[in-house]
C-alpha cells in the first residue's frame, strides 16, 4: 500500500507581489515500509514538503493521498487518521521540547490528544507507555520526572524520538534529525533511529542536506532543487548513476575517503 501519493503538488507562499514557490508540481509516491531521504539545499522546499505530509500546511494546489485516502483538511476523520498514524521528529530538540514540561508530560502529550485517545491502535496507559519508549531510546526510567534542560543534546533528541514513537505511529517524518547534534553523537542517534524504524516496521521520510546520512539510513532518495523534484529512485541507483548534473554536484560535495589502489 502506498503511504503517500502526491500528484502535482504546488506550494506557494506570499501575496500577489512577492510570491515564493516552495514546491512546484511535485509528483511522488511513497510506499509503506520504505525509507525516503529527501535531499536538497536550504530553500529547496524540503521543509514545506514535510509540513504538507504532516498536515500542518495545505498545498496551494495538487492532491495528496494518505494511505489511499484524499487528505482533505476539512474532513475531520481524514485528519484524525493522519494525526493518529504520523509523527514527526524536529531538527533542534532545544526548540521541540517545551522547557517547562517534565519529560513524562512531553512524551505522553500525543497520547492525550483527543484525536488519538480511544483509538485501538493507540496505547491506553500513558505511564507504562512512557517508560516503554524511554527504554526503547536508551534512557533510564527516572528521566520521566526531569526537565529537558537536564539532558544533553543527543539525549534530548532521544526524548523527541520517544515522543514521536509513543502513539505507535506507522509513519515517521524527520526534519534534519541529527544536524543540530555533535558529530560524535550523530552516529548514535542515527543508528538508534535506524533500529527503531526496523523493529517497528515504520515508513520513514527524512529531510536532510547530508547525502551521507541518506546513504546510511534510507533506501529511496528524492532530490529537490528549488522546489522541483529533479530526481528520485532507489538510493543505490541514484547515487551510482545520477541522471542529473545537480545530483552529481551534491554527491561531489560529500567528503569521502578514497579507496586505496
Amino acid at each position: 500500500m502506498t503511504a503517500y501519493s502526491l500528484d502535482h503538488v504546488t506550494m506557494a507562499f506570499g501575496g500577489r507581489r512577492r510570491k515564493v514557490t516552495a514546491l512546484e508540481s511535485l509528483t511522488l509516491h511513497i510506499g509503506e515500509h520504505e525509507r525516503w531521504g529527501i535531499v536538497g539545499e536550504s530553500g529547496s522546499g524540503k521543509t514545506s514538503l514535510l509540513k504538507i505530509l504532516a498536515g500542518l500546511i495545505r498545498p496551494t494546489s495538487g492532491v495528496v493521498h494518505f494511505l489511499g485516502r484524499d487528505l482533505d483538511h476539512a474532513n475531520r476523520e481524514a485528519m484524525a487518521s493522519l494525526r493518529a498514524s504520523v509523527q514527526m521528529v524536529f531538527q533542534d530538540p532545544r526548540s521541540s521540547l517545551n522547557p517547562r514540561m517534565r519529560i513524562s508530560e512531553i512524551i505522553s502529550e500525543p497520547l492525550r490528544s483527543p484525536l488519538l485517545k480511544g483509538r485501538v491502535d493507540v496505547p491506553t496507559n500513558p505511564e507504562t507507555r512512557v517508560s516503554e519508549v524511554l527504554d526503547a531510546v536508551g534512557l533510564p526510567p527516572d528521566a520521566a520526572t526531569r526537565f529537558p534542560h537536564e539532558f544533553s543534546g543527543g539525549q534530548r533528541q532521544r526524548i523527541a524520538l520517544a515522543r514521536a514513537l509513543a502513539p505507535r505511529p506507522r509513519i515517521l517524518l524527520a526534519d534534519e534529525p541529527v544536524s543540530s547534534l555533535d558529530v560524535s553523537v550523530r552516529a548514535h542517534v542515527l543508528n538508534l533511529l535506524n533500529s527503531l524504524v526496523d523493529s517497528m516496521g515504520l515508513t520513514l521520510i527524512m529531510v536532510t542536506h547530508d547525502l551521507a546520512v541518506v546513504r546510511h539510513t534510507c533506501d529511496h532518495v528524492g532530490v529537490l532543487q528549488q522546489g522541483i523534484l529533479v530526481e528520485s529512485g532507489k538510493v543505490l541507483e541514484v547515487m551510482n548513476h545520477p541522471k542529473q548534473e545537480y545530483t552529481q554536484e551534491l554527491l561531489n560535495a560529500v567528503p569521502r575517503i578514497k579507496e586505496s589502489g
Partner: protein
C-alpha cells in the same frame, strides 16, 4: 548588582505591605479622629505631625498603604485579565480579528488614564474603585501587546508544531504551552504596571478624581497639605509614594533577572 535590585525592591514593597497589614489591626491613633492639635509638628505622640484638621499623619499614612495596594491589585487585575487573553488570542492567529484588536488597543493606548478617570468619575462618582478601573482599562493595551509579542515567540517554537502534529487542540496549546512560557514576562510586567498604577492613582487623588476626603490616601494627603506653611505634610506622603513605586518597580526587575534562564546560565 542583580541581587541588590531585588533586595531594595523587596524592602520597599515589603514596607508598604507591612504598613497596610499592621494598619488593619493597629494604628497609633484613629486615622479619622480629629485631635485638638492642628498643624502639629513632628513630635511625640504625633511623630509625623497632624494635618490641617488635626488628624494623625502617621496613622493616615499606614491606612493609606491599604488603598495604595488595593489600587495596584485592582488595576493590574483588570488590565491583565482582559489584556492577556486578548494578546494570546491575537498572537496565536486570527489575523483579521487581530488587526481590529490591535487598532482598538492603539486607540486605547492614545487615551491617557486621566481622561478615562474624568469620564468615569463624572459617570460613577469619584472613588478609589473608579480610579482603579480607569487605570486598569488604560493599562489593557500594555498587557495585550506584551502577551501578543511573547506569544509570537512561543508559537515559533517546534514544540508547538509537535503538538499540532498530534492534533492537540488550539485551546490546550494555549493553556499547556503558551501561558506557562509567557508567565514570567507577564509577572514582571504586572510588577511594573503595579507601580505605575500607584503613581497614577496618586496623581488622580491629587486632582480629586479618586478617594473622597474621608478615605486616607497618599495622593489625597499630598493635595490637602499646605506646602508653604507645613512642608513636611506634603513631603511625607511624597516619600511614601516614591518608596512604593520604586519598591515594586525594582521588585519586578529583580524577579525578571532572577528568572531569566539566559542570565542564569551565565551565573
Amino acid at each position: 548588582m542583580k541581587k541588590l535590585t531585588l533586595v531594595i525592591g523587596l524592602i520597599g514593597s515589603g514596607l508598604v505591605v507591612l504598613a497596610a497589614l499592621v494598619s488593619l489591626v493597629w494604628t497609633p491613633f484613629d486615622p479619622s479622629k480629629v485631635s485638638g492639635i492642628r498643624y502639629g509638628s513632628l513630635t511625640w505622640p504625633h511623630i509625623l505631625g497632624t494635618d490641617a484638621l488635626g488628624m494623625d499623619t502617621a496613622s493616615r499614612l499606614m491606612v493609606g498603604a491599604q488603598t495604595t495596594l488595593l489600587v495596584g491589585i485592582l488595576a493590574v487585575a483588570i488590565a491583565a485579565l482582559i489584556g492577556v487573553p486578548l494578546g494570546v488570542f491575537v498572537g496565536m492567529g486570527h489575523k483579521t480579528l487581530g488587526e481590529i484588536l490591535a487598532r482598538g488597543s492603539d486607540i486605547l493606548y492614545a487615551l491617557p488614564a486621566l481622561l478615562l478617570a474624568i469620564l468615569l468619575a463624572s459617570a460613577l462618582g469619584s472613588s478609589v474603585t473608579t480610579a482603579s478601573i480607569a487605570i486598569g482599562i488604560a493599562t489593557i493595551p500594555v498587557f495585550q501587546r506584551m502577551a501578543r509579542a511573547s506569544t509570537l515567540t512561543v508559537m515559533s517554537q517546534d514544540y508547538i508544531l509537535a503538538a499540532q502534529v498530534s492534533g492537540t487542540p488550539t485551546s490546550v496549546i494555549a493553556l499547556r504551552h503558551v501561558l506557562p512560557n509567557i508567565a514570567p514576562l507577564l509577572g514582571v510586567q504586572a510588577a511594573a504596571s503595579f507601580s505605575m498604577a500607584i503613581l497614577a492613582e496618586a496623581g488622580l487623588a491629587y486632582l480629586g478624581l479618586s478617594a473622597p476626603k474621608t478615605v486616607p490616601t497618599w495622593g489625597r494627603m499630598l493635595r490637602d497639605a499646605n506646602f508653604l506653611t507645613q512642608p513636611m505634610q506634603a513631603v511625607i506622603p511624597g516619600i511614601a509614594i516614591v518608596i512604593a513605586v520604586m519598591g515594586f518597580n525594582l521588585l519586578g526587575d529583580g524577579v525578571r533577572d532572577y528568572l531569566d534562564p539566559r542570565l542564569q546560565e551565565v551565573r
